[in-house]
Every structure is written in C-alpha cells, then in structure tokens.
C-alpha cells in the first residue's frame, strides 16, 4: 500500500524551531532525500537544516545548483529515479523556476517547492514578508493545468505541510508548493514533532505507461532504471511518451487528465480552518501570516458580540468553489486581510455574491489585528 504509518526519522517531542527549519524537518520526515537549491533570502536557512539532517542520517543528496533553473531541473531528474526531491526559493528564484515547473506539471513529476515569499516585484525587499505570490504560484507557467499550493500559518504547520506536500505530490503526481513568507519562515515557535506520521509513497509500477489520459485519477509511475526504455517528454505525448505535436485530440486528453486528476479529488486536497462560520453574519477570510492577525481580530470582535467568523485556507490552490459558496451562503460581508493588493479578495469576489472587503498591505508590515478590527467596525 502506498500509505504507510512510519516512525519519524528524527527526535520527536517539542522543540523551538524556526519556520524554515520546521519545513525542512517535515520534508525530511516525509522521505525527502534529494535537495537542490540556490541561496536566497529568506529561504536559505532551509538549505542549512536539510544538510544537517542529511549529514546526521547519512542519507540524502544535497546539491547547490548554479541557479534556480538548474536546481528545479535536478529535482525533476532525481524524482524520476524514485527519490523524493525538494527545492526552496523566494520570488526571484521562483521566477526562474517557472519553465521547468511547467515541465514537472506536464511530465507529472512529484516534487515539492517551498516558496518563502518576500516583497516584490524584482529584488524588492529581500528580508521583509509579502503575500504577493498568491496568483504567481497558481498561474506561473503557460498552458492549462492544476497545481496544489499549501499555505501554513505557523511553524507547526510548516512542519506538517512539509509532510503533507510530499504526500499530495506523490499521490497526485503533481509538483506541490508550500507557500510561506518571510515572517513565518523566520519566526521561532514551539513545534511538536510526532512519533509517527502517515506517508504516501508514489505507486511505482514498472509495467505502467509513464503517463495517462484518465480524466479522474493519477496513474502509477514507472522509474528510470526499470528496464522499460522510458520516454519522458514535456512535449504533448501519448501514454507511452510518444511525442504527438500536431494532434489536437491528444493535447485535449492530456490537459483533461492534468486537471481531472486533481479537480476530482478536491475534497481530499482542499483544507480549511474555520471558526463560528455557522452563525456568522461576517467572516474574516485569509491565509498564511495575515490569517494569524485575522484570527486575533475575530476574537476581539466576538468579545464585542459581533457575529463574525473566521475562515482560513490551508490549501489555497485548488480553491474549492462549491464548498466556499455553501459555507458562505448566509454571510453578508467577508473581510480579507492579505499582504498584497487583494489576490484572495479577487478570487472570493469571483466565487461569492456577498460583499468582499479587502484589507490590504502593500508595504512589508504584517497586518495587525487592530487594523483589521478597525476596517470591520467601519464597515458593519
């Protein structure tokens, strides 16, 4: 069975960890044994932690690429040998990875990318947080596809999502992104490392074709070295990897597979953290660092007897529209704090009919609870 309950290969217990360290530990526990990356603030500490884990366990290969393009490429190469691979970066590095991210999507290569957001565009403010990559991680590369993006709000979740990102990636054969930001990545918090975790290892089938046209499920994966003369290509291909660069029908089928294998399992993938949604007239909806302030703001407002709820997306992509519509059916106004010009706001405006009120921060200051409280009170 691909699901296994395993003892974690590191010390379990409660530790004070930085966010970057926590995600590295989570990935290591999930079985990540190949890491390639290029130094960048605020993701560099991940490299240090990965090296520590590889050295003390005497397992795993660490590679510093000549750039981010090489780093993600090396991860894809390693993944086709059956090694769980990860890279981590921030905006400028993510920009460079985009073409090969598309390759990983099209070749259905499991791998994990941690994007520690900093302020952009361009070099921006390297050591200051932002949530400006919300849409970039979803729509970075050309063409139609689905991708999975997790958004942790604490060091604890960085550990957990390090594991979950690999599980989802292996299960759905899709590159999976952990989208965090400078504030959480550099935060130190107590993290509970459990004794055991559930780990999904991709279904390896040497006889299986490398690709699939199934509209519902991901397919098992053969590996390099299986002796089957695999054809892996980022050009449109048949199930067996034969390039078909002119037939529209084949392209249609393959894109339907890339989308269907994820959208049909959205209830397994999509995750939220909700408080008081049932009786709420108003909701604070957010994700990542801004959700922490949103949560506190909700508590303060409820003390004032305002019927406000809290809705946090732990998975920002794919976004489960039907579920959100149903959960927000009685909600009058939604307040959306985020450190950008209103990315989640625009998604919710598209999905919901009620009023969406963005609480944005275009500088690089984490939004404070009182700022959210103020906007809510002004708009009741």
């Amino acid at each position: 069975m691909p699901w296994n309950r395993i003892k974690v290969p590191i010390k379990s217990g409660r530790f004070l960890l930085q966010g970057d360290e926590a995600v590295a530990d989570g990935a290591f526990c999930a079985g990540m044994r190949f890491y390639a990356g290029y130094p960048i603030t605020p993701a560099s500490e991940i490299i240090t932690r990965v090296q520590d884990r590889f050295e003390e366990s005497n397992e795993g290969v660490y590679f510093q690429g000549e750039d981010e393009i090489a780093s993600i490429a090396a991860c894809i190469g390693a993944s086709w040998t059956g090694t769980k691979a990860m890279t981590a970066t921030s905006g400028p590095g993510f920009d460079l990875m985009v073409e090969n991210l598309g390759y990983a999507i099209f070749t259905e290569t499991p791998m994990v990318i941690v994007d520690v957001q900093r302020a952009g565009p361009s070099t921006g403010q390297a050591a200051r947080p932002s949530q400006g990559d919300y849409h970039q991680v979803r729509y970075a590369t050309h063409g139609d596809y689905e991708i999975i993006v997790l958004s942790p709000w604490s060091c604890q979740e960085l550990f957990e999502f390090g594991v979950r990102a690999f599980n989802l990636s292996e299960r759905y054969r899709v590159p999976t992104i952990v989208l965090t930001d400078e504030a959480i990545a550099h935060l130190r918090e107590p993290v509970e490392i459990p004794e055991e975790i559930d780990v999904f290892d991709r279904e390896h089938d040497p006889e299986a074709p490398p690709f699939s046209f199934d509209e519902v499920d991901a397919s098992p994966m053969p590996l390099l070295g299986d002796g089957k003369a695999l054809l892996v290509t980022g050009s449109t291909h048949t199930e067996w990897g034969k390039r078909v660069t002119q037939d529209p029908e084949v392209h249609r089928k393959i894109v339907k597979h890339l989308i269907g294998k994820i959208s049909n399992h959205i209830s397994d993938i999509f995750e939220t953290h909700e408080e008081f949604i049932e009786d709420a007239d108003f909701v604070i909806a957010s994700y990542g660092i801004s959700a922490r302030s949103g949560f506190e703001a909700m508590n303060r407002l409820r003390k004032k007897r305002i019927k406000i709820g809290f809705f946090r997306l732990k998975v920002i992509w794919p976004i489960w529209e039907k579920y959100i519509i149903q959960r927000f059916s009685n909600v009058k106004k939604v307040f959306v704090p985020e450190m950008n010009m209103g990315h989640l706001s625009s998604e919710l405006k598209r999905i919901l009919n009620c009023e969406i009120i963005p609480v944005t921060e275009l500088g690089t200051n984490v939004i404070l609870p009182e700022e959210i409280v103020k906007v809510v009170e002004e708009n009741l």
Partner: protein
C-alpha cells in the same frame, strides 16, 4: 541486423530529420559506441533538450530518455546522476541548446567534473527554428538572423569546456565516423565530465546558406576542411579549419 540496432527505436522510423541531416549519423555513432562498450541498456539514461538534436536520443535511442526543456538537459542529468550514481548518464544536445541557452549549465558541469557524458550535435545553427545563428556559427556566416554575414565571433566550445575542468574533451565531425564512435566510447568510459563536440550537418539551413545543400558535398567539405590537432605545427595551418581530435 547489426547488433547496435538494438539501441535504436526503429518503430519511430523513418526519422523526423531532413534528408541528409548529420544528426542521424551521430545517432548511429552513439548507438555503435554503446553497443561496442556492451553497456547495460537498463542502466543508461539519455537526457536531451529541445532542438533537432534533442530528437537524437528521444525518441530514437532505445533506453530510458528524458527529453527536457531547451538548454537544461545537463541540469536534469545532474539530478539523475546524483540520485543514481550507478547509472550511465548521457546528454545529447545542440549548439544552441548546450552552448547558448544552456551554456551556464555546461561550464558548471565541467567545473564540477560530474560523471556525465555530453555530446553536442553541433550544426552551427538553430536547425529546428529555421537556421538562426548560434554561438558556434563562424564569423561572416549567413544565417536567417545574420543575413549580411555574422559579425559576432563564435565560442570554441571544446576549449571552453576543457578549461572549465572536464576530464575528456574531443571534437570530430560526422565525416570522421570511426573516430567519432571512438571518442564517444572514450567519453563514456572516462570518469568525470566528458564532452564530445560532434560537428554535424544541417543541409537545410546552414549548409544551404553557407556551404552546400547537397548532403554528401557537405560531409566531404567537413572532411577536407578539418585538421587534426596532432598535425598542426603552425597556427596558419589551422586558420579557418575545423580542429579535430582530443583536447
């Protein structure tokens, strides 16, 4: 049937190459080298980029192959090799692929001296996209993007890779078939980064505009216009010639 044909995926034949394209000769040279070395086909991984050259191993070589993005084959291959050091990893790419867009990966792989063999099918231009100039196009050449003659100077890629730290570097043309096969065998057998610059012919573009559109005449031109590095006694002898041999 010759034994090296076991390395060829004939189900995709006839190939997609133009009539008389030198890339088909390089394909045979690679198959022959692998066959003569008696490599275990199940442990050989070919990695290629985008371009007519990218088609040489994928789909035409019957072994595991990853056909990657333009210029990035060496980077993908690095991941394969690091994760599975027991695999024989062979990169095949073009002059545009490996020396232009992928030039950074090439010199860094040579610097690391990672145990990968890299074969550059060098037809002095971008064949697939219509014959634009590449980093190996000789100065003065007419290409679709240097219509009055190229004003830029080319790279000597073999020397570049050698000085970056590669273990083995050779250059032969498709007109020197037995030597080409031999150098590929040596490259695969040498530990560390090995690089073979295989001068190819693109009769459709570079040949038509600069040498000849006739596939045989082009090959004959390569033969007549090459000089072995061992036989060069003065720089005048190598002026304007293709220097072949091991570097």
């Amino acid at each position: 049937m010759k034994t090296y044909m076991e390395w060829i995926r004939t189900e995709f034949f006839p190939t997609a190459f133009c009539p008389g394209c030198g890339h088909g000769i390089i394909l045979r040279a690679i198959a022959k080298a692998c066959d003569e070395l008696e490599l275990d086909r199940d442990n050989v991984v070919f990695v290629s980029g985008i371009g007519c050259s990218g088609w040489i191993p994928s789909p035409y070589i019957k072994a595991d192959s990853i056909h990657t993005t333009h210029g990035r084959a060496i980077a993908f291959a690095t991941g394969v090799k690091l994760a599975r050091p027991d695999f024989t990893v062979i990169v095949v790419g073009g002059d545009g692929d490996l020396a232009s867009i992928g030039g950074n990966h090439l010199i860094h792989a040579a610097r690391r001296n990672i145990d990968i063999t890299c074969i550059m099918a060098d037809n002095n231009n971008y064949g697939m996209t219509g014959g634009q100039y590449s980093p190996t196009t000789p100065k003065g050449s007419k290409t679709s993007t240097s219509r009055k003659g190229l004003s830029e100077a080319p790279f000597d890629v073999a020397k570049l890779v050698k000085s970056a730290g590669a273990s083995f570097v050779a250059r032969y043309t498709v007109a020197h078939f037995p030597q080409l096969v031999n150098s590929i065998k040596k490259a695969i057998s040498t530990e560390g980064f090995s690089f073979v610059q295989a001068i190819s012919t693109c009769p459709t573009h570079f040949g038509r505009r600069n040498v000849t559109q006739d596939p045989y005449e082009f090959i004959d031109y390569l033969k007549r216009n090459s000089v072995n590095i061992k036989n060069i006694t003065s720089s005048a002898e190598s002026m304007g010639k293709i220097i072949i041999g091991e570097f």
